[in-house]
Subunit: 339 residues, 2 copies
Amino acid sequence: MSGQKKKTTIYDIAKELNITVSTVSRALSGFPAISDTTRQAVIETAKRLNYSPNKLASALKSGQTHIIGVIVPSLQAHFFASIIHSIEKGLKGSGYRVILYQSNESLISEINGVKTLLEAQVDGIMASLSLETDNVDHFSEVIKQNKPLILFDRVHEKLDVPKVILDDFKAGYTATQHLIDQGYKNIAYLTTIHQIPIFSERLKGYKAALADNDLPLNEENIIFGGLSIKDGRFGVGKLMRLEHKPDAIIAADDFTALGAIKKLKEIDQVPPKIGVIGFANEAFSAYITPTLSTIDQHPNQMGTECVKLFLDMIKDKSAHNTSTVIIEPSLMERQSTLS
Amino acid sequence: MSGQKKKTTIYDIAKELNITVSTVSRALSGFPAISDTTRQAVIETAKRLNYSPNKLASALKSGQTHIIGVIVPSLQAHFFASIIHSIEKGLKGSGYRVILYQSNESLISEINGVKTLLEAQVDGIMASLSLETDNVDHFSEVIKQNKPLILFDRVHEKLDVPKVILDDFKAGYTATQHLIDQGYKNIAYLTTIHQIPIFSERLKGYKAALADNDLPLNEENIIFGGLSIKDGRFGVGKLMRLEHKPDAIIAADDFTALGAIKKLKEIDQVPPKIGVIGFANEAFSAYITPTLSTIDQHPNQMGTECVKLFLDMIKDKSAHNTSTVIIEPSLMERQSTLS
DNA sequence: ATGAAAGCGCTAACAG
DNA sequence: CTGTTAGCGCTTTCAT
């Protein structure tokens, strides 16, 4: 035999000390009305018997798992990895833990995620929607169960819950204005076909900036495709076949911008000859050549705000919190737009 | 009132249909000896009452959570994010889910992670050790509980469990041989002070390749520091103050290699003038300038192998599996070493 | 300060 | 094919 099979429970501790499980439970959980002697004995015995609490049982009984489910489109994007990191950091000391679910930009997978997390009895959910998510009914069960739900970055208006978002309009506006300030006059825009607000807001910001600067809006300049390195290349290909070729390109994320740059280099239009700016300030953006101008979305700040909202909601379950925290984007000027 | 407070349980379904919970439980779990009529009725009622199983209760009773805990140093490294991704992919359809824990390269945090996962009653653990981990006692409890433990990439010899690793010796050898083949003769090596096998094996490979090519080993050329962009810059600074300056640099990871390249560009020794090669084939490595030669560690293959091992162990708990799966590294030749 | 006992939601051995 | 019943390990109210 390689040691006893069964794990030690509070019953074992109780038996060992000739007291009851209630006393053990109290001693272990810091209940005040327990004599110091007893508490010491319990703690010592627990250690000696190598006791490890079964959180499952505790959660089943108390109805609280102290686990928060976080749904993100993908961990491969540094942006989301950073948010996760700051959420975990912010939660430190609160007793809450995070369990992660990746939707891989798929609606079906996201629906499954909500279901799984709910079945796992998480105490709340933080989510950033997939590109495919045009319907958010799958979140209604979270609300029905009266569990905190917080949306961040990729949100949906139909969901009347607290949100942490970037000022995406401003982000789009800032990127565009920056290009205009650099002397670019015919600015193209590569974005996604998916109708999710974050991207349409940025596009609105782009249009507004053009208008404010008395620059014409050329619909041909707006390419609706995917978001990836490949799509960036593809988009540039399309743009370069236009009669009136653009002199600058805004890509809805840094991956797409990277693809655009690669293609531009191949056709000898190396930025900043044609300006390129992206969104998200990905890990690579400062290191490619030319370095990529982009909009920083402050993931750490986003994570921190999510945690703040969550802890508030836990504290005051009754208050129907629907506040929206808006993060200010920052322009990162780099070589790809410095003409 | 915003609807009933309590969640529906199998009791509610049973009451609704005038049957017992056991029947409901069986009907829901696909138990064969249940009449089709009953099963249909149960499923229909479950749907109507918006039933969602409480996995906690089921796990408590059955002793199985169907959750695997995965411990990684950091999600910010694309390498680990990829492994996670392939683990989840490999697990699809098996009924197992992953919960993630980041050690942030800290031993204390890693110890905490094991404890937390065990308390959460995970069915097994897959782990890649932190840089600080020089002692692995915290994993003994996992083994004692007879739960599958699998180590990947960053492993430890003291742990007699199945492992999935890169052939790190070969990786180091290959990188070195490649530089030699390219005509470099005085090759430096930037690595970590931490004594973890993955890095010492690579270093051994480096030394062996030098010896096999009758090249002298110059201890001054080996810098023991940290692994980061900053450390890469710092390492180059140190190397450039040597009397006999190296003409190529191996960095123990791509981040360090990136830092090295940045510094070299500043002092006008742009690779491949001084060759630079890294390890891990990070997301940015193909896109920086010059593009970074590196050793691909096949994270997807690693994840897949981990899953395979895990499922085997679950299937056959008795067999003391201690097999080690060794992944072959691949050289990615890029501009930074092509002289 | 401590004990007794009920029960969280589910599973499964045993009966019928 | 279905019901009865006993727990999984813990928390918590009500006693004492």
